[in-house]
């Protein structure tokens, strides 16, 4: 029976590609599926593109390929990556230029047409309200502040690129798991209405799309995280998928991390809403029938995914400007570290009130006490902390206020409570973004999708 091996690439913009080398060298993979775009990465890329129209793509795609392509070419490994971001053609030109300089050969394809930002009026005219999926709010409230809006495309255009001989497929926004589902459909000849097979492929893609989280990274547990071997050399997950829609999850020999029933089921449910209707552009997955069979030795069999027909609508995620964040941090040592942080917080709040600054929200956290656990922090040792850091953040519509806020804090070093640390500079205003998830009829987006292929 035919099968194909796919290895995880990156799990976010800025992730490490070093573990991918082991998957290519000794993991037997034919494809690397690399996810560079989290929900709001496109906002970063939009700012890049505003400064330079030839930018707007994830800048870690090129260095990853520059380091791994000679090895990948030798082993016949293809790359599918959404590092095209808002500008897949720009990414292709940059990579093609670098490949020509080095004398490397590759067929590089782009998938584009996911952006809806410049088409919002056209889509509304075509009958799409583009209301917020969760709140039902109308898009007019944020329309003029929208920075990006992109539809999650499915695996079909990636398959078209592979059919045209692409070695490297650069996409913009596609469903993360489509980066893996596409080569499975292409290699194994699955039909686009074989829902259970597509569901298995979607499951595989979902298990691979967060790189090390599928192989023992971020293993949420009280003590068992310490039993994950060799974090420094953690191997990214690999899936060997058969034409009969069964899979073996594993990782390259000699790498750290762990592929087990426990590490995989944590990733299976990660960032999933209703597990019985995990919606993708290509199929709707029911996770309730999935079976994992842990064979030991970092080998787990995956079977029995159930699929329902793909949805009539695609999801668009937009991001809009939503004010500015000001941040101040200051640390105090024993004695009475927490009490001094509290006094500093009160002092800052008084200064802000006296200045009459237009502050919409203030967030006060105590690093070393409750900045991560919030109201579920245990107060037992609060007043005996060795040291404690105050972190205060505000939301304001005024960029100047957000900038000035951080500058209030250093003054406390000479004029506030004693034994102060962390005078390491002032953090300026940071832009805040609201998220706008909405739906659009798929044909309105898919009719504009383009696949282009260039031989280098």
């Amino acid at each position: 029976m035919k099968s194909v091996r796919i290895g995880a690439g990156l799990g976010f913009y800025g992730d490490s590609w070093h573990p991918v080398r082991a998957s290519i060298e000794r993991g037997g993979v034919r494809y690397i599926a690399s996810d560079h775009l989290s929900e709001l990465t496109l906002a970063i890329l939009q700012k890049d593109r505003q400064k330079d129209p030839s930018a707007g793509y994830a800048r870690d795609g090129l260095p990853m390929l520059a380091e791994l392509w000679p090895l990948a070419a030798k082993h016949g490994v293809k790359f599918i990556l959404n590092a095209g971001g808002l500008n897949p053609q720009g990414a292709r030109e940059a990579i093609a230029r670098a490949f020509r300089d080095k004398g490397w050969k590759a067929t590089i394809a782009t998938v584009s047409g996911d952006s809806a930002l410049e088409r919002l009026d056209e889509l509304r005219a075509a009958g799409e309200p583009l209301a917020h999926m969760d709140t039902g709010a109308g898009i007019d409230t944020v329309r003029d502040r929208m920075l990006f809006a992109n539809a999650y495309l499915g695996a079909q255009p990636i398959v078209r690129a592979l059919e045209q001989g692409a070695d490297i497929v650069l996409t913009g926004r596609v469903a993360d798991a489509a980066l893996s589902l596409a080569p499975l459909v292409f290699e194994l000849g699955w039909r686009w209405d074989d829902w259970d097979k597509l569901a298995l492929g979607l499951t595989v893609g979902h298990l691979l799309e967060c790189s090390g989280q599928g192989s023992g990274g971020n293993f949420g547990s009280a003590a068992e995280w310490a039993e994950i071997p060799d974090y420094a050399h953690l191997g990214y997950p690999i899936a060997e998928v058969g034409a009969d829609a069964t899979a073996l999850l594993t990782k390259a020999p000699g790498t750290g991390g762990r592929v087990s029933f426990d590490t995989l089921r944590q990733q299976l449910l990660y960032e999933v809403h209703n597990p019985h209707a995990y919606v993708s552009p290509d199929v709707v997955l029911d996770m309730g029938t999935i079976k994992f069979d842990d064979q030991g030795g970092d080998r787990v069999r995956l079977t029995r995914a159930s699929g329902a027909p793909r949805p009539p609508k695609l999801k668009i995620v937009g991001g809009y400007h939503d004010g500015w964040m000001g941040t101040g941090i200051i640390g105090f040592s024993w004695p009475q570290a927490y009490a001094k942080c509290e006094k500093a917080a009160q002092t800052i709040s008084t200064l802000v009130a006296e200045r009459g600054w237009p502050v919409e929200d203030t967030n006060v956290e105590y690093i070393g006490y409750n900045s991560l656990l919030g109201a579920n922090a245990d107060p037992t040792y609060r007043d005996q902390l060795n040291e404690c850091f105050l972190r205060m953040t505000i939301r304001t519509q005024e960029r100047k206020v957000a900038d000035a806020y951080g500058r209030l804090f250093p003054w406390l070093g000479l004029s506030g409570p004693p034994y102060v640390g962390s005078m390491k500079g002032v953090q300026g205003a940071q832009e805040l973004l609201g998220i706008w998830p909405t739906l659009v009829a798929r044909e309105l987006m898919e009719s504009k999708v383009q696949v282009a292929v260039e031989k280098v």
Binding site: E39, G220, S221, H273, M287, G288, N376, G434, I435
Partner: protein
């Protein structure tokens, strides 16, 4: 007896728009039966009353001994507009592991450790 979840289960959390979502996993089948009975949307909502402004949804998954839990309107509008240190909701799972439930003393995990 009262038992904190960290002694009998493991968990990971993440974010989607203004939702924090958690996978809660029993180490064994007897514990899963207890989690399914004791970890209710109402109790989870009470545990997160200071940060979750919307309803709590919960799905049991017998096939993987897990509960899928979603906290709606729990991230100050979403990761990129949140003022919190844990803007991505990655520590929400650890917060859940601090929740206490009623559990029989003979659960496997309570014996072996």
């Amino acid at each position: 007896m009262r038992v904190p979840l960290w002694k009998i289960a493991h968990a990971r959390s993440g974010d989607k728009a203004d939702r924090a979502d958690i996978g809660l996993f029993a180490w064994d089948a007897p514990t899963y039966a207890v989690l399914k009975r004791e970890v209710t949307p109402e109790r989870v909502a009470a545990h997160f009353r200071d940060q979750c402004e919307g309803p709590v949804e919960l799905w049991p998954l017998d096939n993987i001994l897990a509960l899928k839990i979603v906290l709606n309107r729990a991230l100050q509008g979403g990761a990129a507009r949140s003022l919190r240190m844990d803007n991505l909701g990655k520590v929400v799972a650890a917060q859940l592991l601090r929740m206490e439930i009623e559990a029989p003393a003979d659960l496997p995990r309570l014996q072996s450790r």
